[in-house]
Amino acid sequence: MLRLLSFALFLATWWTAALFVGGAKLPSPPTVLQVMTAEASSGALFLHLGATLARVALAFTLAMSLGSAIGYLMGRVKLADRLGDPWLILLLNLPALVVIVLAYIWAGLTEAAAIAAIAINKLPTAIVTLREGARALDRSLDEMASVFAMPRWRAFRHVVLPQLAPYIAASARSGLSLVWKIVLVAELLGRPNGVGFEIGVAFQLFDTPRLLAYSLTFAAVVLVIETLLVQPFEARANRWRPRAA
């Protein structure tokens, strides 16, 4: 209920602002809604949204699985940490734009280049978070598992993984928001479809209603995924805690 109220307040503010600023710079909600329905009925909205979502899903999965594995290794094995650390610092501080442009130059304006570029941008933060998680693992529980001769996989699944779950959830959440931001840039620079591409076109034509229609749909999708996927996962990972934070 409170959420609806806050949404209504947002709409009201937008509408009033649109009245003052004028339709060219800030179109009113009905205008944007009109564009949205037009794009939706032509199918273009879903096509572009689908393309973007597919890229997000692929790049996110790639970065999360690779980043988690590398981060876990770096947190557990000192040598891996020593070897990987300089690269990690480099990747962490490399601007997203540099990675995207280089990927397009080296691998061409291809789908693989776009997905790789997005994944590389997200990879270091996943590594850093999971490395922290692996470093914070409780040694005394490892000892318990070893004394009771638990097989490796069972110990990993029941002793290690639950300790990493909050870190994985944190990394997924921050990573997803990063991927949402970067995917549009990658599309704007070198893809013939996707929300980013559409926003680029709208920008060139100064077509504000179209720009807003795509941005807001995109934001809505992000919000839905966040509430339906990320938050339940976090809640599940933390359900054993007597009082969830």
Partner: protein, 246 residues
């Protein structure tokens, strides 16, 4: 089955660069069906010795001989349960082969029936200890190691838990190693008592108790206690055998 402990020494390197001797040469052996008790002052190196015996610490001089197929059940000083698994899952994860009947019996003896599906965070220390005990017994161990299983419990609770441990230990022939600083617990639960010196730990006295565990009456226990206290004080003025020495 037999456990042979022959540690010739163990040193720690401190952060400042110096070395500290934690264990002096220690030698003892334990047979199946026997309860050995290590008694010594806090910080004398008992836990280090246990870690070596359990194979968690391999950086020591000497050797530990235990049959490689020996199953180990361990009750750590702090219960070391998995907070994200229920009581029953905690036991089953360590002992996947445990039968439902055996598990029910253990939970009944340890009064855990009502807590099967609780998470460890919802339990008191006494209950968490019981879960740790259930876990250790559920694996049907050949070597059972109990590291101060009654510490930080009030006297009444400690007494009850001690009786439960005695019941469980008697139910199965295994090598049991109990670490405690309570002479009373040692006399009630042990067959052979090893008194340890302050750091670096060595065995200053080994005392077998002739009367079988189950046959010890309160009067005999009291007699053994006075006798032990007298001998300890006579022979080793420097051994602090704990709170129960008059």
């Amino acid at each position: 089955m037999r456990l042979e402990v022959e540690i010739t020494g163990k040193t720690f390197r401190s952060a400042a660069g110096g070395t500290h001797e934690v264990l002096a040469p220690v030698r003892f052996a334990l047979q199946s069906g026997e309860v050995g008790v290590l008694i010594g002052p806090s910080g004398c190196g008992k836990s280090t010795m246990l870690r070596i015996i359990l194979g968690l610490d391999r950086d020591f001089a000497g050797r530990i001989a235990r049959p490689p197929e020996a199953r180990i059940g361990m009750v750590f000083q702090e219960p070391r349960l998995l907070p994200w698994r229920s009581v029953e899952q905690n036991v089953r994860l360590a002992a996947p082969e445990v039968s439902d009947a055996k598990l029910s019996e253990l939970f009944r003896i340890l009064e855990l029936e009502a807590h099967r599906s609780h998470f460890p965070g919802e339990l008191s220390l006494g209950l968490a200890r019981r879960v740790a005990l259930a876990r250790a017994f559920a694996v049907e161990p050949d070597l059972l190691v109990l590291d101060e299983p009654l510490a930080s419990l009030d006297d009444a609770l400690a007494g009850r838990l001690r009786d439960e441990i005695a019941t469980l230990v008697a139910s199965r022939p295994m090598m049991t190693l109990l670490v405690t600083h309570s002479l009373d617990d040692a006399i009630r639960l042990g067959d052979r008592l090893f008194f340890l010196s302050p750091r670096p730990a060595r065995i200053v006295q080994e005392l077998p108790i002739a009367i079988p565990r189950a046959a010890r009456s309160e009067a005999e226990i009291a007699a053994i206690r006075t006798e032990l206290a007298r001998r300890i004080q006579a022979e080793q003025g420097d051994v602090h055998a704990g709170r129960d020495v008059p």
